[in-house]
């Protein structure tokens, strides 16, 4: 059964496919993220930037629900200009806030779907909490590029339809040893490229359990 969210997620993919077709050759970029001990790292944010990637408006909004007194997903990556909706799917009310400089806001006690989504118009890290429930935690990483992805449970991030150009590959993880110290490397995207391995220094204590 296809939900509304499914549709929304499909939109960028369709766009990317169209662009790739439009701008010539595009390639799929695979990045494998591990911690320093070689363990596969999930929820690492992988994105590429160059001069052409900034300022591209996102086409679609984003939804970050609260369910079972948890944010879902707990780690999100969105393009600058994305409006995120925070539907409350619990019976209790939540008070979602952010003191992060990339986006300060609060959604005072509410239930159901708030009237207005929150626009994230600045690149950076936003840490979300609930003033009622201290254990609720979510990271929203805002990038100014349309080419980004999160590593899956295998630690692999797959960036599709990336034009074959030179980029700066950046990898961020919320539990980085050095907070917000994005790991960068220059890459050249080609179709023949193999998966790029990236190692991160992780503070395991800060890993969200159960993710």
């Amino acid at each position: 059964m296809t939900t509304l969210a499914d549709y929304r997620t499909l939109v960028p993919w369709a766009f990317l496919i169209l662009c790739g077709v439009h701008q010539g050759h595009a390639a799929e970029l695979l990045v494998e993220v591990q911690d320093s001990k070689g363990a596969k790292l999930k929820d690492a944010v992988v994105f590429v930037e160059n001069t052409k990637t900034a300022g591209i408006a996102p086409t679609v909004g984003y939804e970050l629900e609260q369910k079972s007194k948890q944010f879902n997903p707990q780690v999100s990556v969105v393009q600058v200009g994305t409006s995120i909706n925070f539907p409350n799917r619990d019976k209790v009310r939540h008070h979602v806030y952010s003191f992060s400089s990339a986006k300060k806001f609060e959604l005072k006690l509410y239930s159901g779907v708030p009237a207005n989504p929150v626009l994230f118009d600045k690149a950076g890290t936003v840490v979300l909490g609930c003033n009622i429930h201290d254990t609720m935690l979510a990271y929203v990483y805002i990038v100014d590029t349309p080419y980004f992805a999160k590593t899956d449970s295998n630690g692999v991030a797959k960036l599709a339809n990336v034009p074959e150009e030179n980029y700066t590959l950046k990898v961020w993880h919320y539990a980085l040893q050095q907070e917000n110290k994005v790991v960068e490397q220059s890459i050249s995207v080609k179709s023949s490229n193999k998966a790029i391995p990236v190692k991160l220094e992780i503070n395991h204590a800060n890993l969200i359990q159960g993710e």
Binding site: L128, M136, L137
Partner: protein, 792 residues
């Protein structure tokens, strides 16, 4: 130390023992109390430590919770997010005063900013805060202590999350006396916080101890190179504390210790009451024990003391003490044994005393007792001026009685006399046996007249014969008297004088004789005579007197008894009474006898020349009879005078034979064999048995003059004489009657058939030269002598 008495020994030994036991008991108690208290205090200290730590933890938790509230405050977090320093500081101030914290610090993670509320600079706070934050995540519940400005603080760091950590809240409480007091209240421990900067001196930050004690404790730590964290006994002033040291904080700069202590001394002092109770019980027990021991030792020793006292009394001759005991133990046995020993000694001593002062035969006091009593009486009477009389009484011829009747009857006789004497005197008078046959009487308070009266009464005892073993025995006695104070004022003198009187009485057969000073002279005379006797024998002072014996039938047929007289050159004629006893004693009698024999032979020879054939009888004594040479001497005399044996006859008394009957018999037989005629003199006064007499070679009996003299008036005497005459004739003996003093007696005797007579009637003893003229005179008158005429 030595204890002389058994009682002291018992008391000392047992008290020492009980004291030792009590002390031996107290020492383990003391040890045990000590050990237990230490153990207890150690446990309390362990528990206290847990309480202490728990308290600090819960303190931390309280602070943490307070800090968390602030950390979770949305507005506060908002202020942090907006980096509003003033708001942050005011919030910290507010918070600090709300929970009475001494320090409140905010540290912002994102921009490394620090906001400090409290008496502290950022520079001072920073390293501590960084350290706290660094170590925070490592252990969830950590109690942190830090020292700022030489002040120790308990610190808590709490992260501020939004929702990730955006900053830290650090809250600090000064460690002060209030905290120490609080800890003390809950843990009951003395709490002292000591701190030391690097190489600095120890300081007491807070303490429940007094200032002095704190200094003492600091002193202890100063002198301890490396503080020991284990339980340690620390002496602080007068108290001993079990101590435990916790290191609360230790870094390169500072060190903070918590010293937890519990006083052993105080704990032990709780037992002090117990000790005092024990001590009181011990003292009380000792008291009770002492009383018991004294009682027991008395119970044991007192009878022994009593025994020894009684023994001392015994030593002094007091036998009246009896040890009363109803005990059945060894002491009781000892007491009884002691009593019976005392009785035995008393009995024996009484016996000894009796032997010394008593005569068992007569059951009378003896001579010693008599003299003693006499001395006492004299002493008593001297003071009161009272007279007393002593009478000395001696039985005549007791020796013969003893010899003839045997000692048992002799004793019986003595006893009888003793009883008779005792019956005659009053109870306060004394009768004693002074010697073999001599009695003494002490008439207390009797004067001269009374004494004489008693003496005469005593004499009457002897008037009647005494029945002894179916025999009637005629006993006579000499009696001498001496009266105090006339006759002497000492016991010895008085007794001597009484005995002198007795001697006179005996020698003169004069019955009762009162002492006279003249007696002493007489006795002296006797003594001087005795010394002269020997010279008298040799110096021819002795003279032979003849008393004629006449045939009662024919009035002729003469014989004579030779009697000795002493013609003293100065004193004249002395009768034999006065020297014969002495001669008997000294043995001079033998010389006298021989002289008499010679003289008799000479007289016989001389009379023969005048035509008078006279048999002369010579008395011989005991000493002659026991002299085995006597017959030879007699024979030698006869040979010298060349005379026939029948010219001389011998007279012996019964008593002289009885001294040594066997030898006497042998001597008499030899004399008789020589042809000498032997007569028994004084017959009837001795106790010789007829059976014995029969065996002797005797030809003649001479009846004692005492039977003859009063014959005509006394029928009994007549009967005795007649019987004796018949007896003599039946034994084929001639019978001679002595003591014929008148014609009546002559006639009676002649009628009885008595063979010869002798007496004043016929003629007194006379010198030999007078004999011829007597004979002529007698022959002249005797032819006309007719009973009728004579009796007229």
């Amino acid at each position: 130390m030595k204890f002389s008495s058994l009682k002291q020994q018992i008391i000392v030994i047992f008290l020492t023992l009980i004291l030792g036991i009590q002390l031996a008991g107290l020492i383990p108690i003391q040890y045990s109390v000590d050990k237990n208290v230490r153990k207890l205090v150690g446990k309390e200290l362990d528990v206290g430590e847990k309480v202490f730590l728990n308290l600090l933890e819960s303190n931390t938790e309280n602070i943490t919770n307070g800090a968390k509230i602030l950390a979770a405050d949305y507005g506060f977090r908002e202020a942090i997010a907006s980096n509003d320093q003033e708001t942050i500081l005011s919030a910290l101030n507010n918070f600090q005063s709300r929970i009475h914290a001494d320090i409140a610090i905010f540290y912002g993670v994102q921009n490394d900013s620090m906001t400090v509320s409290g008496n502290l600079t950022e520079q001072e706070a920073k390293p501590v805060v960084n350290h706290l934050i660094d170590t925070h995540s490592a252990s969830a519940k950590k109690i942190d202590f830090e020292i700022f400005n030489d002040m120790p603080y308990q610190l808590v760091a709490v992260p501020i999350k939004a929702p990730i950590i955006i900053g830290w809240m650090v809250v600090g409480f000064e460690i002060d006396d209030a905290l120490a007091e609080k800890l003390n209240k809950l843990s009951s421990l003395q709490v002292t916080f000591l701190q030391r900067a690097e190489k600095g001196a120890w300081l007491s930050s807070a303490s429940t101890l007094s200032r002095d004690d704190q200094l003492s404790l600091i002193d202890y730590f100063e002198h301890k190179a490396k503080p020991d964290l284990a339980n340690n006994e620390v002496r602080i002033n007068d108290d001993v504390f079990d101590s435990k040291t916790l290191t609360l904080h230790h870094d390169s700069d500072n060190m903070l210790l918590a010293v937890l202590q519990r006083s052993i001394t105080a704990e032990i002092s709780n037992y002090q009451t117990l000790k005092y109770t024990l001590l009181i019980l011990t003292i009380f027990g000792l008291g009770v024990f002492t009383v018991a021991i004294i009682y027991v030792s008395n119970y044991i020793a007192a009878p022994i003391t009593k025994l020894s006292e009684t023994a001392k009394q015994l030593e002094q001759g007091n036998y009246d003490l009896t040890i009363q005991t109803d005990r059945h133990d060894e002491i009781g046995d000892l007491s009884k044994a002691f009593n019976s020993m005392r009785d035995a000694i008393a009995t024996r001593e009484a016996k000894v005393a009796r032997l010394a002062f008593w005569d068992d035969v007569t059951n009378l006091p003896n001579r010693v007792a008599f003299i003693k009593h006499l001395g006492e009486k004299i002493a008593a009477h001297q003071q009161r001026g009272l007279p007393l009389t002593i009478i000395v009484l001696n039985l005549d011829r007791f020796k013969e009685v003893n010899k003839i009747l045997g000692r048992d009857l002799g004793d019986e006789l003595l006893n009888r006399v003793a009883q008779s004497l005792k019956a005659m005197v009053r109870t306060d008078d004394m009768v004693a046996r002074l010697g073999a046959d001599e009695y003494g009487l002490l008439l207390a308070s009797a004067g001269l007249e009374e004494g004489l009266a008693v003496a005469h009464k005593l004499q009457k005892i002897f008037d009647t014969a005494i029945d002894l073993a179916a025999q009637k025995i005629d006993v006579t006695a000499g009696i001498g008297l001496a009266v105090y104070p006339q006759h002497g004022d000492s016991d010895e003198q008085l007794l001597h004088n009484a005995e002198t009187a007795l001697h006179v009485s005996k020698s003169k057969h004069s019955g009762v004789v009162l002492y006279d000073a003249a007696f002493d002279l007489g006795i002296q005379e006797n003594l001087s005579l005795a010394s002269e006797l020997k010279t008298a024998i040799q110096g021819r002072q002795l003279a032979l007197y003849l008393q004629p014996k006449v045939n009662l039938k024919t009035k002729r047929g003469y014989a004579a008894e030779a009697l000795v007289r002493w013609i003293h050159p100065e004193k004249g004629l002395i009768f034999p009474d006065q020297f014969i006893p002495f001669a008997e004693q000294t043995g001079l009698i033998k010389d006298i006898t021989l002289w008499m024999l010679e003289e008799a032979c000479r007289v016989h020879t001389e009379l023969k020349t005048e035509g008078i054939e006279l048999t002369i009888a010579v008395n011989i004594s005991t000493r002659d009879l026991i002299d085995s040479d006597f017959p030879d001497k007699v024979e030698a005399i006869f040979k010298r005078f060349n005379i026939a044996e029948n010219a001389i006859s011998l007279e012996i008394t019964e008593s002289s034979i009885m001294d040594d009957p066997v030898r006497a018999e042998a001597t008499l037989h030899r004399l008789a064999n020589m042809g000498l005629k032997i007569a028994i003199d004084d017959f009837g006064t001795g106790y010789s048995s007829l059976g014995y007499l029969k065996r002797l070679p005797v030809k003649e009996l001479k009846i004692d003059k005492s039977f003859v003299m009063n014959m005509e008036k006394n029928d009994n005497d007549t009967i005795i004489v007649r019987s004796t005459v018949d007896l003599g004739h039946n034994l084929n003996l001639k019978v001679v009657a002595e003591g014929i003093e008148n014609i009546e007696v002559w006639n009676i005797l002649a009628k009885m058939g008595c063979d010869y007579g002798q007496g004043y009637f016929m003629g007194k003893p006379m010198p030999e030269k007078d004999f011829k003229s007597w004979l002529d005179k007698w022959e002249a008158q005797s032819q006309d002598m007719a009973p009728k005429k004579l009796s007229a």
